[in-house]
Symmetry: C2
Subunit: 434 residues, 2 copies
């Protein structure tokens, strides 16, 4: 059963929907002006924002919040500067809406265009990172979307201060922005939001896998994100083993807590004996806990890997290792146990690499490089909305484009369908103009 | 609560999933060969297919199926010829998968490509039209997707005969197609399908609005389609009234039973007196039942339109009419009561038209032409998967492209992320190559 909907959430969502209709026609210059105003006002209200954050931190400490959560909750002067820098770089980005994606002449004086436009109303749910609030709401404004935000209760004061500043900035810029940024305050309001599939067009969760999964389970609104990042590297029989060592080390070690870090290493049996002992020695230096199947444990010291390990995202200095008899076995393992996020092959053979990249059903597939590259900034997308393992709309690292859809515009001069039906009817030209 | 899943459906879906991994790498030539084989075998098995259909028709008559349903159930020689003609035109279409959508150099020897690819497993549900089975399953094969089909029980024998022929044709072409087309036979199997959100990537319903709505209500799998087609034409104050007469007549009369026919006519008060009487006279000749608000009924003979009428898709020779005081009121009415399908403005003013098309939140927005143009064939998309009022993935008439998504392919030469972090780090070039 879907939860019943709170009036306050429904009102906010209806307000956002109304605002979204108008936002679709606000010219880029005005949207950028609003963004610039947000950056300015964040700076001029720095003191009160940091004070609000101090209070959240104090309370979190009283409630014994774990150190990593405390760190993510902290929104200090450096974080605020980073936010304003991100906004200014966002202003510089090209307009994601109003792009003519195709143009076709259907007949003389009857021209069809496919034009990018905002999605409408985006619901953003994020955990304890106030910087995510600023980043995502400005991304929504740049792309002409209205946004409903729900942050963690531990960041309540910071989030309220930030949304107040954002709203003052945009409504001062132009009253048409009224209603386009709204903060939901309680968990009940958030549950209500998930039931409003007639008003909210897309949900983007930014937080733990558990958060994403629980949202996916409880809404009919499309959810853009990924619930897990079980990434693999497969070392093929002809791999350059020095290259494999470097890449596999980076994929596991460089930042193990993130979704694009490697969780399982697959090694072809023909190179296992040459590769695994030296790889294990590198991992040992970095204090990586190794788990392996039997053939692996015959070659290196590792705990026994269970069926569960293949489907586990450790997000930590832990790695499961399996020896496979062929690339086909590696591909089958990845498609079965992986999370369709990011997987890489190490091989000298272009043919093997292309086959691996075609057959592995993942958002990002790589050849001779680290899975850690799967990221919006590294991919050159500018600002990142998130990483999606969906099979529709947007996949992999998602930039501003993921916050847009398109509409069809048909400009005519009195044409009617009856003229194109039956004997002696007019015929469509279907001439591609763009 | 989602229904529990039947073993037979789960097995079929798992088989389709397995098949889909391989389908992604089948070259165009082989996919087209399979399509050609289907067309050939449909022709060579014509007698048994038509016989199966005769039996379905006989049984349907015994069960007193309504005449329009009987008509849609009929799959005769002409329909079969149309199917094979559609398949041959599909073969001629360009490959929707393997298209390089963008190419970026991240650094020297580190090249990122965004490449179109199949979605995976598509579930198709359709009512009593056997031709839809052939059309959609061949569209899925062309785009490298596996497909699970569920037709109406009244077309059971025809559907079974068609799927048998299709499967023989594709598996004879190449065994790798095994498992890629599967017919579900019972309603329970279909309910089970809707619960398999880990295996089925997209559901496309082809049938009544009720069917689409009931599916949208009972699955977490993305559904591509539209539950209603409440389309509007707005006649602006400066409209060419002769042009408006022609276009409004066509939008209502040319084929009233379809989703892109006009259901509500909005008329600016400044032209209502000049326009409505002559328009009503035309509609009267065509036996259109008119409903109107008070200002309308002051000018022409019409029944009283209720609040419910504005939100009704008649799919029949019935039209509701409302006089509005401004374009803004028309836009508000459309965004509030419409189904975000297709809406048109009649005006001489380019500025008004552009504003209308920006502010109306519909899949297709039109200027000086009939809403009936909103259709994949007329838009020049070739084969049509359906018309979507979704705000993500695909919107409006959807062609083969709607059955594809993309993956990111990153080809490197040993690059690791650690080299791009910290002081003296390498920098990304992010050079756009395509």
């Amino acid at each position: 059963m879907l939860p019943c909907v709170m009036d306050s959430t429904k009102e906010a969502a209806e307000g956002a929907k109304r605002a979204s209709f108008g936002l679709a026609a606000i010219p880029l210059a005005l949207r950028n002006l609003a963004l610039a105003s947000i950056a300015d006002q964040l700076e001029s209200h720095k003191a009160e924002i940091l004070l609000a954050n101090d209070r959240d931190i104090e309370q979190a400490k009283r409630h014994d919040l774990a150190a990593p959560l405390l760190k993510r909750l902290r929104y200090d002067s450096a974080k605020l500067d980073e936010s304003t820098m991100q906004i200014r770089s966002l202003i510089a980005q090209e307009d994601p809406i109003g792009k003519v994606l195709s143009r076709t002449e259907l007949d003389n004086g009857l021209i069809l265009e496919k034009v990018s436009c905002p999605i409408g109303v985006i619901g953003i749910v994020f955990e304890s990172r106030p910087d995510a609030l600023v980043q995502i709401s400005t991304l929504c404004l740049k792309s002409g979307n209205a946004v409903l935000l729900k942050g963690g209760s531990e960041a309540k004061r910071t989030n309220e201060a930030l949304v107040k500043v954002i709203n003052e900035a945009i409504i001062q810029t132009d009253p048409c922005f009224e209603g386009s940024v709204h903060l939901l305050s309680t968990r009940e309001e958030f549950r209500s939001l998930l039931a409003l599939d007639g008003l909210v067009d897309l949900i983007i969760p930014r937080g733990s896998n558990e958060l994403v999964r629980s949202i996916q389970e409880s809404t009919k609104i499309p959810v853009l994100g990924h619930a897990a990042g079980i990434c693999h590297t497969y070392v093929h029989e002809d791999a350059d083993l020095a290259l494999a060592l470097r890449v596999c080390y980076d994929a596991k070690i460089q930042y193990p807590a993130v979704c694009n870090a490697m969780e399982t290493l697959l090694v072809n049996q023909r190179v296992a004996r040459d590769f695994l002992p030296s790889m294990a020695a590198e991992y040992e230096k970095a204090r990586v806990e190794l788990k392996g199947d039997e053939p692996t444990r015959a070659l290196i010291k590792a705990e026994e890997a269970t069926e569960e390990d293949w489907a586990t995202e450790y997000n930590d200095l832990v790695l499961s290792i399996k020896v496979v008899s062929s690339m086909e076995e590696a591909i089958e393992h990845i498609n079965r146990y992986g999370s369709h996020h990011t997987d890489s092959i190490i091989t000298k053979s272009r043919q093997a690499a292309e086959r691996f990249m075609d057959l592995v059903d993942s958002a990002s597939v790589m050849w001779n490089c680290s899975t850690r590259f799967a990221d919006g900034f590294r991919y050159g997308l500018g600002a990142e909305v998130g990483i999606s393992t969906n099979k529709t709309h947007a996949r992999g690292p998602v930039g501003l484009e993921g916050l847009t859809i398109y509409k069809w515009k048909l400009r005519g001069s009195g044409q009617i369908v009856a003229d194109y039906v039956g004997k002696g009817a007019k015929e469509f030209t279907h001439r591609k103009l763009l």
